[in-house]
């Protein structure tokens, strides 16, 4: 069986994701598509709108064959680490291809850019330091350093978010000596960060979430998502009475800041350089999560960097818990017959333990992800208990 890996968040699964899925099959001729999907919190430091189980359903019903969880240790990370975790899982799973969407759409520009930066590494790092000393964030400095080095060459535009992720996917493949072959598909119709729903039927997940946050009804987004997503979102809303937004967690984050001593926060992952004093001070004054973020924002840290720190504070995740270089297990969230067959066929060659139901030993292996689900459950008030039950009892979702 030919297999293609994709790296996704599906927050929520929309028509653009469907296009990516279809193009992946077409381009790689894959029999099986494996999605490595973020858990309850996402790369940009946000809660997923709906639980990983609901998003697994969306993925399977839209045609993904096998859904694997990208553990918390990797899914709520900067692009580099996120990419390393995801690529490592797909390599372990013996995926023949990785196919990702990008603004560029040309795989050669990725390898060229990696080679170019590698050949100019010391200049590149010097420029990064220089820009950071001027007070800008790391990602911004990296993008400026790259422009400085390669103003007119036919290389990647590293100011584009999906180019950045793709760059790290390809780089990580090289670094771990993976035999998985990278491919890319040009993203169409919607910029990643577009705030407004576009009139065509492919919109960014960001604009879809924004519409949901404002309207809390699915009517306005229905034409931008597959029916299967619409049904899944409706069912989720019916069961939980809300989607999970940062604002749902704000009382708990604020409470956490209100009772914590600075030294209790300094060991939290991504809390650095006395940031804890600033966070505690502004949490007192802030009236909402958005207000809080606007208050704590500086040039030095990106919004997403600060949001991720807030996720780690909310979940009380210490630096020591985030030291794994690579994932240590493959947690199966769901599959169809083909996905199941694929796992069976490759089992012998997969060295990581495959976790598909939670026996006591397996529960221990994924205990951080279970704990994260406990925190995630607080978005849902009294219905949160259902999130915990779902997480503890769940076997993989099976779609025929």
């Amino acid at each position: 069986m030919i297999s293609a890996g994709i790296i996704v968040e599906y927050n929520p699964f929309h028509n653009g994701h469907l296009y990516h899925l279809q193009q992946t099959r077409k381009k790689t001729n894959a029999d099986v598509v494996i999605a490595v999907m973020s858990g309850q919190f996402l790369q940009r430091g946000e809660p997923a709108l709906v639980s990983k189980w609901a998003r697994t359903n969306m993925a399977l019903k839209a045609g993904v064959d096998l859904v694997i969880e990208l553990p918390y240790t990797f899914c709520t990370q900067k692009a580099e680490k996120f990419a390393e975790g995801a690529v490592y899982l797909l390599t372990s799973l013996q995926a023949d291809f990785i196919c990702f969407g990008s603004e560029s759409g040309n795989i050669d520009t990725f390898t060229n850019t990696i080679n170019f930066i590698s050949n100019h590494e010391s200049d590149y790092n010097r420029f990064i330091r220089q820009f950071m000393n001027e007070g800008v964030s790391y990602p911004k400095a990296a993008s400026l350093a790259f422009q400085q080095l390669a103003p007119s060459r036919d290389l990647l535009d590293l100011s584009k978010p999906n180019n950045i992720l793709g760059y790290h996917y390809v780089k990580a493949l090289q670094e771990i000596g993976s035999k998985t072959v990278p491919m890319t598909i040009e993203r169409i119709h919607a910029g990643y960060h577009d705030q407004q729903l576009s009139s065509v039927k492919i919109s960014s997940a960001t604009s879809i979430r924004k519409t949901l946050a404002e309207n809390r009804t699915l009517d306005h987004i229905q034409s931008h998502i597959p029916d299967t997503t619409y049904q899944e979102l409706s069912a989720f809303y019916k069961k939980y009475n809300t989607f999970a937004f940062w604002e749902n967690f704000w009382p708990f984050l604020k409470y956490r800041f209100s009772h914590s001593e600075p030294n209790e926060l300094k060991d939290i992952y991504e809390v650095e350089e006395g940031m804890e004093y600033r966070l505690i001070r502004f949490a007192q004054e802030a009236t909402s999560f958005k207000d809080f973020m606007e208050k704590i924002k500086t040039k030095r840290y990106t919004w997403t960097r600060l949001q991720r720190a807030c996720v780690h504070i909310l979940t009380n995740t210490k630096k020591e818990k985030m030291r794994n270089k690579f994932p240590e297990y493959i947690r199966v969230l769901g599959f169809n017959q083909l996905g199941r067959q694929y796992l069976k066929e490759k089992k012998e060659r997969i060295s990581l333990p495959i976790i598909s139901n939670l026996s006591q030993a397996e529960r221990k292996a994924v205990q951080l992800d279970i704990k994260i689900s406990q925190t995630y459950s607080f978005a849902f008030g009294n219905n949160g208990q259902k999130i915990i039950e779902e997480e503890k009892k769940q076997f993989p979702i099976i779609v025929e």
Copy 2:
């Protein structure tokens, strides 16, 4: 000026408290009545229904002349420590008398009992250990040990809660060599723990709170409280939309247990002997604070002991913060002209710093109480901000 000290919680101020206040004046012939009143959380490990500022208003309007805060370090403590803190404050304030309500109503039984126990200390302690080894809580063991020693003498009934408190008041006065003279008034008409509103107009605060918790309206308790309390409770409810019950804090306490490692809880005051594992485990399953309490209850710990531990966990108060032997400041919550005059007159002879508004230095002195108010504010949702503003900006309440 003759002054009488009383030790109160006023949760809320009711007709029984008014009787106590009137009898105190009558019995001591005092010009000035000074109330040392618990802050936002109370001796039995519960949040006060309404803030200390609202309760100060109730006290002043009912005729108390001067209201002093019993700091968190003493007000959320077992009877002995609670008594020591309160008595020390009243002694510092040069109170001529302390007048407390008790089931006994006879001050000689208190001194007799203290002398008797002192004379039989080693037997008393041996019995206590023996009963505790049989698995009962400390207060229960102390009461049984006392019965064992003095079955037929004319001594205190130390199974009664106000006798126990009174015992510790008188004992603390002796221990610090106070010149303040203890007096007691027999409590009338309502047992301390009575659950139902009695048909007469004096009911226990417990029954009043129970009625409020069930009905959330003031109609049923109106005849059991002075008009001034009724007005204050109405105004508070109008401003904050709720009273503070443990259940209001339950989501936050549960959240705290959900993300905390056991070793992060073991330094909390009154968390002892591996209790943290038990609490974390049952918090996951519990559906309400009451349900949680029923799950964690054992013979070894009283309900109030466990409730106090929960308050300290909620407020994240470590053992090291609770080591003060005696209060280190006198925080004035409110006074009338007489109370103000009294403070002015005695100022020279009061050695503790008197904190009557929050300059920077004073804010530092009472920082734990300010932090406690921040936690208390979480009972009130978006209105919590008003609790914090009240706490930070408040000068003593002045009633003419």
